[in-house]
């Protein structure tokens, strides 16, 4: 059903205004002292122009780093609990990469596989994803090895591809995307109005404008491989330099682990859901003092096997979209791609 249109920057800006006046907030990548962060923006010019990948993934719009899930009040000897979830703000998530768009399905799989986490789903339902395909990549990118691609449409409602400095190819993929189109059809055209002859939207050869990310391994083979490596000493070897911080998990678009914390202040308190990481020693520490994952090695193993074996097995999604953020952010240069390739080669 995918429909192809052309939209230029001016119209895009106008589209933003329309959407805003329609009560939507627009979250897009913003350059903050060199770190590219997703934030609410007011116009196109707020958006970071030149970057391969954002520092933090956009997952916080649907899975914030901390979030109140209920509040309680002590009155005399009774506790009054208020757990109604707040109505999410209609949101347009603009400028995400196809890999990030793809990651939303992993999040969704985790938050809905048995218990439906309505605070997540309601946010997702109220979010329209306008992603921009990748014209550049770097050595950390490996989307093509985990089923994605620089121009992948999965998870996006609209995918933009930068054609030239002014024009974007807009692929309208879903109903949500369609709704955007219909909200301002005049801003989209079938032909671009650039002097140079102009092209027909349907005719555009999208691939020409995309980065080339070479595939490094076959993810199905990787999954198989992992079934045999549980007791391998590769984990210890690879994790030697791991510092045990939570950076990889927190920048990852597909990591879903969270902790639950009650914070009481006087007679009132709130229960928070907040990001957690399997790299932390405390993640599995028992009250008794026993820790089933005593050292960094089993923690590292858990991280990989969870993403590339357990999740595909149980939820038929991969816990990794190959965005490479973890490798870019790691203070000890734990390069995920490199490690995966190593695993593929391991005997």
């Amino acid at each position: 059903m995918t429909e192809r249109k052309i939209i230029n920057k001016a119209s895009l800006d106008e589209l933003f205004n329309k959407l805003k006046s329609g009560g939507k907030r627009i979250i897009a990548p913003r350059d903050k002292k060199g770190k590219i962060i997703f934030e609410e923006i007011s116009s196109l010019k707020d958006i970071a122009s030149d970057y391969i990948q954002t520092t933090l993934s956009p997952k916080q719009t649907v899975f914030p780093r901390y979030e109140e899930i209920l509040s309680y009040q002590f009155e005399n000897r009774n506790i009054k609990i208020d757990k109604e979830t707040k109505k999410p703000v209609p949101t347009v998530l603009f400028g995400v990469r196809p890999c990030d768009a793809r990651s939303l399905s992993t999040l969704n799989a985790v938050f809905t596989w048995d218990y439906i986490d309505t605070s997540f789903t309601s946010k997702l339902e109220n979010t329209t994803v306008i992603s921009i395909s990748c014209s550049k990549s770097d050595e950390y990118c490996f989307c093509t090895s985990v089923g994605g691609s620089p121009g992948d449409t999965a998870g996006s409602d609209i995918l933009l591809t930068h054609l030239d400095n002014d024009n974007f190819l807009a692929e309208i993929i879903t109903e949500k995307g369609k709704a955007i189109l219909l909200s301002a059809p005049e801003l989209f055209s079938d032909k671009d109005k650039s002097a140079s002859g102009g092209k027909d939207a349907p005719a555009v050869e999208k691939e020409k404008y995309l980065a080339h990310v070479k595939p490094y391994f076959d993810v199905k083979e990787l999954t198989n491989k992992l079934t045999k490596l549980f007791n391998s000493d590769i984990w210890e070897e690879q994790s030697l330099r791991c510092l045990g911080c939570g950076t990889c998990a927190f920048v990852c678009p597909a990591c879903t682990c969270f902790d639950i914390q009650d914070e009481t202040n006087g007679n009132y308190g709130e229960r928070f859901m907040c990001w957690d990481s399997c790299a932390f020693a405390l993640f599995t520490l028992h009250t008794s003092g026993h820790n089933p994952r005593e050292t960094q090695a089993p923690r590292w193993r858990q991280r990989l096997i969870h993403k590339f074996l357990y999740q595909p097995e149980r939820l038929s999604v991969y816990g990794c979209v190959g965005c490479g953020r973890c490798s870019r952010a790691c203070p000890a240069d734990m390069n995920l791609l490199e490690h995966l390739v190593e695993i593929m080669e391991a005997q």
Binding site: F74, E75, N76, N265, G266, N267, G269
Partner: protein
């Protein structure tokens, strides 16, 4: 709207300031009722986290007081405390924390009158500064900050 009544927590040592405050009582010297004294063994015991938590709880000002230098019941607890306070106060200043909200003093067991003055001056200063919104705003869980001061509700 009645006048703003600041909430003030005082961390005092058991041997000098606590006893000094007792003397204020036995001497029937009147002072502002805003202060809530929390007794510690020694200023050396006062962890800076206590001060931070008092603010997190919604204190508009925090007092810390103990024995004069050389008079520590434990000989040097207050010297150690003094060093920590110097570092702590400088850190807070660097962070732009309004350090007028913390009052460090030496009040001996014999200085009942001084305790009253110290409290009164501090309370009046804090009244001028108003509620400590800067810090209260950091805490998302603040729906009831101060509620306990209006009427005693149960604790969990």
């Amino acid at each position: 709207m009645s006048e703003f009544e600041p909430k003030i927590i005082a961390f005092v040592c058991n041997w000098c300031t606590y006893a000094g405050a007792d003397l204020t009582g036995t001497s029937r010297i009147k002072y502002e009722p805003n202060v809530r004294i929390i007794k510690n063994t020694c200023t050396g015991r006062i962890d800076f986290m206590m001060i931070l938590k008092a603010f997190a709880r919604g204190a508009d000002g925090v007092m810390v007081s103990g024995c004069h230098p050389n008079d520590c019941h434990y000989t040097s607890g207050n010297f150690h405390a003094r060093r920590r306070w110097i570092v702590f106060k400088n850190l807070l200043e660097f962070l732009g924390f309004d350090t007028r909200r913390i009052y460090f003093s030496w009040v001996s067991a014999a200085e009942g009158a001084k305790w009253a003055d110290v409290v009164n001056n501090f309370v009046n200063n804090i009244k001028k500064l108003g509620p400590f919104e800067d810090y209260k705003n950091l805490n998302p869980v603040r729906a009831s900050l101060g509620v306990l001061n209006e009427s005693a509700r149960p604790q969990n």
